[in-house]
Symmetry: C2
Subunit: 259 residues, 2 copies
């Protein structure tokens, strides 16, 4: 039996995306790899799961590959659920998701399929990391990320993660020599200001494309946005207990008996 860690790899850009191929390459150095990834891009899917339709799973045959690969008709969260329950014969030691083509820093974590996969694994009690590169291009250069992916992954395998947390790792779009190192950060308080591009179809009916501008009003130097803008790899520990514990006391002062 292998003593190498068992690593479940997924993403949200789809199984053929260059970002996940780079991630698989690094994971093959570290452990035994099984890939379960969407058969088509799932960006913006948030933490969606497939409850109203069926899921398909196809073994991808590639005789040259070290890793087993499955493409799945579902969302990134579905991929993790199926991987853990139906494909792997034991619990994985780690789940990694990405490398996403595009930033998942700041509020983007909420909309991120990449991070939803990591969070799904975290809910299952599996240490998990989501990796993203701040470059939306399909031909983005993932080379500078690789040594950092390896170091961060090895640290997670060595130290574990605090219960109820996963890591959100974002890479600045820089050459390796220009990356200054790694910073542990908090999620910046930023948001998207939507601008809908309103058009008319050939039959005169209006429709919309969602576009928008990212606005960061958070001046903190301990945020992921600051780190990325200043040449650092950002790591934010992310939790899925969404309780705003600090608000509980205030809410207890409200009068709910005035009906």
């Amino acid at each position: 039996m292998s003593k190498r860690p068992l690593i479940l790899v997924t993403n949200d850009d789809g199984i053929t995306a260059p970002g996940v191929r780079s991630l698989i390459e690094v994971m093959n150095i570290i452990g035994d790899v099984v890939v379960v990834a969407p058969d088509s891009p799932q960006s913006g899917m948030g933490h969606a799961i497939t409850v109203n339709s069926t899921l398909h799973l196809d073994k991808v045959n590639d005789d040259e590959a070290t890793q087993a690969e499955y493409s799945c008709s579902g969302t990134p969260a579905d991929c993790v659920k199926l991987g853990v329950r139906e494909i792997l014969d034991r619990r994985p030691d780690l789940c990694v998701s990405g490398i996403n083509h595009g930033s998942n820093a700041s509020i983007n974590v909420i909309y991120s399929g990449t991070m939803s996969a990591a969070i799904e694994a975290g809910i299952e009690g599996i240490p998990a990391i989501g990796f993203s590169l701040c470059d939306y291009n399909w031909n983005a250069n993932f080379e500078p990320c690789k040594s950092y992916v390896k170091t961060i992954t090895e640290n997670v395998l060595k130290h574990g993660l605090a219960p109820g947390t996963v890591l959100n790792v974002n890479f600045p779009n820089l050459e390796k020599k220009d990356i200054k190192g790694i910073k542990i950060c908090r999620q910046a308080k930023a948001n998207w200001v939507e601008e809908f591009d309103k058009r008319q179809n050939p039959y005169g009916k209006d429709y919309y494309w969602l576009t928008g501008k990212f606005v960061n009003l958070d001046k903190g130097e301990d945020t992921d946005e600051w780190a990325l803008a200043n040449g650092y790899v950002s790591i934010v520990p992310v939790q899925f207990d969404l309780t705003a514990h600090h608000s509980i006391q205030q809410l207890n002062t409200w009068n709910f008996n005035e009906e």
Copy 2:
């Protein structure tokens, strides 16, 4: 000009669902109501947004209704974005989502379209509440919820919410007389244990249905699951800063320079 609050109403079960009709009824007592809700059920959509396809918006004509209504081809989060940017001529004073047919307590908040709409409004700085009834039936009885919906909403309008928080309200599936009151809670540490129902299509190919069992190992009496099981309406203040602030110090002790 009206001094009544402007209230944006949405949900994830679709604009025709009995749950949102009940919510509209209560909101019409409190303020001026505009409904922007999905044209079809969106359960399990998590915080999905529509970035890879177009969005359609249709004004629903109902001469008898007090409120303006729009049905939208997108997700609950899309509905909030479109409502705020394209439909309303001023910022709403409140956004309410639901009443969901089914629980969004505990870890369900992560998968919930209902709560994603409330969170989307929260990100926009709009006070927001998601309401859910622990009954998945289309014909669920929303009558017992109504006075609580009114009281909770009036409290939010009166006191506001702490910045960066929204409310996740769940109702036990009980007669009004059996509901014991309201409890402010934390999110229970529970999860779903998936069981995939594996089948074969008529052509011999496997496919899966996602099913599962909800498991709550959290023995706390301050959780939403405890409150609901004991006859209370649960309110959890929910935040969208996902940073696990307590983990930052530990991660800073890791050695990232060993590559």
